[in-house]
């Protein structure tokens, strides 16, 4: 397997008043082109930080990331991010939000008409062609996330990074979007890294599941290869022995081997910090 995206011995320290806090310790991972990799782990284990390092939003303290043998040290559209809370610009319509990205990436390469077709094409991919002129506050959470995905896909990224893309959605909407993602992945063959909390989601979508140990100094605990043939159908798989075996493996990792003991009072707080970890880490950095 030739590695397309390579994380080699990535470690990161965040400065704190008590000295540097090591959030990640020697994360090494090789990802092939077209592979769908999920990162799973308990809240606060540094999943988002891994993604932000690949995105270039954070800089690794030690080690580094190579994409097609070139070092990643700044954010860029070839590593598009689907943010957890959609991050659409609220003053732009769905079309304009995608347009901002398309204009930036394809300026000088596509004509105006081609750009327009490309924007509409991408919004159609996520079934949002009916709401081109709607602003984010006029559409539902699931629709916003679809537009966010369309915006990322429209950049034609080498790697698509998704930070708990469906975390804030209800179960039915989440299932619909997971199906959409599987279709798009089958069509376009993107290389994807997805962060998730959801064991079913990880098993259903991924080629490999990377399970992370708890922080501080979190690292990769185990990697699980999901050898289920595609296309995968959630209803058929729910009775499939291999599917349930993979589920069991992930659950066993999370709840037996990496059981996170938290006091009731602090559990809510730690969830909050993990959802805003991007913000607070960035401030620390």
């Amino acid at each position: 397997m030739k590695s397309y995206l390579q994380l080699s011995e990535v470690s990161i320290d965040f400065p704190t008043p008590k000295g540097p806090y090591r959030a990640l310790d020697k994360i090494s991972l090789d990802i092939a082109q077209g592979e769908f990799v999920s990162l799973i782990g308990h809240s606060g284990c540094g999943k988002s930080t891994v993604l932000n390092i690949v995105a270039g939003l954070h800089q690794a303290t030690e080690g580094g990331v190579l994409l097609e043998d070139r070092e990643v040290n700044a954010p860029g559209p070839e590593r598009a991010v689907v943010f957890q809370n959609h991050s659409l610009l609220p003053w732009l319509t769905a079309y304009q939000n995608v347009e901002l990205a398309v204009k930036r990436v394809f300026k000088g390469q596509k004509s105006k008409a081609e750009m327009k077709d490309w924007i509409i094409h991408n919004l159609t991919l996520v079934n949002m062609e009916h709401a081109l002129d709607k602003r984010p506050d006029e559409i539902s959470g699931g629709m916003k996330q679809r537009v966010g995905i369309a915006r990322a896909l429209a950049m034609e990224p080498k790697v698509l990074l998704m930070d708990e893309p469906f975390g804030a959605l209800d179960a039915l909407t989440r299932a619909q979007l997971q199906d959409s993602i599987m279709e798009i992945h089958a069509d376009l063959g993107n290389t994807v890294i997805m962060i998730t909390h959801d064991v079913d989601e990880a098993v259903l979508l991924s080629d490999r599941i990377v399970m992370m140990t708890n922080g501080p100094a979190a690292s990769i605990g185990e990697i699980l290869q999901i050898d289920l043939e595609r296309p995968r159908k959630r209803v058929e798989l729910s009775g499939d022995a291999r599917y349930n075996h993979f589920r069991h493996e992930v659950l066993a990792f999370l709840y037996d081997r990496q059981r996170k003991v938290e006091e009731i009072g602090t559990s809510k707080k730690s969830r909050e910090t993990s959802s805003s970890s991007t913000t607070c880490h960035a401030k620390q950095a």
């Binding site: 943010f83 003053w91 990205a101 991007t278």
Partner: protein
């Protein structure tokens, strides 16, 4: 069928009939301020009767109403005199030209005393010019400070130092600088206009600078990440992300600034004797006729009303450029 008629009503406002609940809401909205205003007028009327000054009794609502009528009449008369003055010159010039076609004739401008209404116009022009100039400086400065922590750290002490300075302290300095620097044979603006405008500008910069800076530095990290991932160029970043995101706070600053500008202007005009409502008030005070207090009271109410209108127009502007139509602006 019922749903159909309902949607028809909502689409066609001419079919709209207010429900009793809406009527009572409208009634309250009109009635409560009406009661409060009547009460105020009653208290004012009675209190005024009890205050005797060296210029006669303090003006009550009735005297003020009469004086406001007088001020408008005086303005009309002044305009008529101006027209008559110009006409007389034209007639005379025509006579001269009929005897000697080569004669060099000219029309002298009317130099009557500016009326109350002229002074309102002057003050409005000055405040808008000063405010516009201040915004032109304050918004870019605020954006720069908000974007860059180092600039903020560098400039913050200066802002804090100049923010609380009263306009009256600036005024002598501005006056001297303007008379030294603004020297021209045929000035487009009078010196007094420039002086008042600059004083207004210096005092009303700060709320816009500070609020814009706060707005810019509080733009959501998520939106900044989007901008970073897209590698937006600086100008696109500022105009597509930073400015729209900080618009609400920017407008808060602009409205505060305009309010300060209007207050500062009246004080500056009073002290500097430059044309405007402030000078009108001071002149009436110096004049000391039995009508003076009533006329000053008219000016007070007009100043308040114009301040209110200025704020409403900023609010209107904010509503028209705001992207968040659900936000409650008041």
């Amino acid at each position: 069928m019922k749903a159909l008629t309902l949607s028809n009503i909502s689409q066609n406002p001419s079919h709209f009939r207010p429900t009793p609940a809406q009527l009572s809401k409208l009634g309250r909205a009109l009635l409560l301020p009406l009661i409060a205003t009547s009460l105020f007028l009653f208290l004012w009327y009675n209190a005024a009767k009890m205050i005797d000054t060296s210029l006669g009794q303090f003006p009550g609502p009735v005297e003020v109403w009469e004086q406001s009528g007088n001020l408008v009449t005086e303005h009309r008369q002044e305009r008529q005199r101006e027209v008559a003055f110009i006409e007389r010159q034209e007639v005379r010039n025509a006579q001269i030209l009929s005897t000697n076609p080569q004669a060099d004739v000219q029309i002298r401008p009317y130099t009557g005393k500016p009326t109350f209404i002229d002074q309102i116009g002057t003050s409005l022009m000055t405040v808008l010019a000063g405010f516009f100039l201040a915004s032109l400086i304050a918004i870019p400065l605020g954006i720069l400070i908000g974007l860059n922590e180092s600039v903020y750290t560098a400039v913050n002490p200066l802002i804090q130092l100049f923010k609380p300075v009263s306009p009256l302290a600036w005024l002598p300095l501005v006056t001297m600088v303007v008379s030294a620097v603004y020297v021209s044979q045929d000035p487009a603006f009078s010196k007094s206009f420039i002086t008042s405008m600059l004083t207004v500008m210096l005092c009303c910069l700060w709320p816009t600078v500070i609020n814009t800076a706060v707005g810019v530095s509080n733009v959501s990290k998520d939106l900044l990440n989007v901008s970073q991932v897209l590698r937006l160029p600086v100008m696109t970043h500022v105009f597509k992300i930073i400015v729209p995101a900080s618009l609400p706070l920017m407008f808060t600053g602009l409205r505060l600034s305009l309010g300060i500008a209007w207050m500062v202007l009246i004080a500056a005009e009073m002290l500097a004797q430059s044309p405007g409502l402030g000078k009108f008030v001071w002149d009436e005070f110096q004049n000391g006729s039995s009508n003076s207090l009533g006329r000053i009271m008219v000016a007070v109410l007009v100043i308040g009303f114009i301040g209110f209108l200025l704020d409403r127009s900023m609010l209107f502007l904010q509503k028209s450029v705001s992207w968040d139509k659900t936000a409650v602006l008041r």
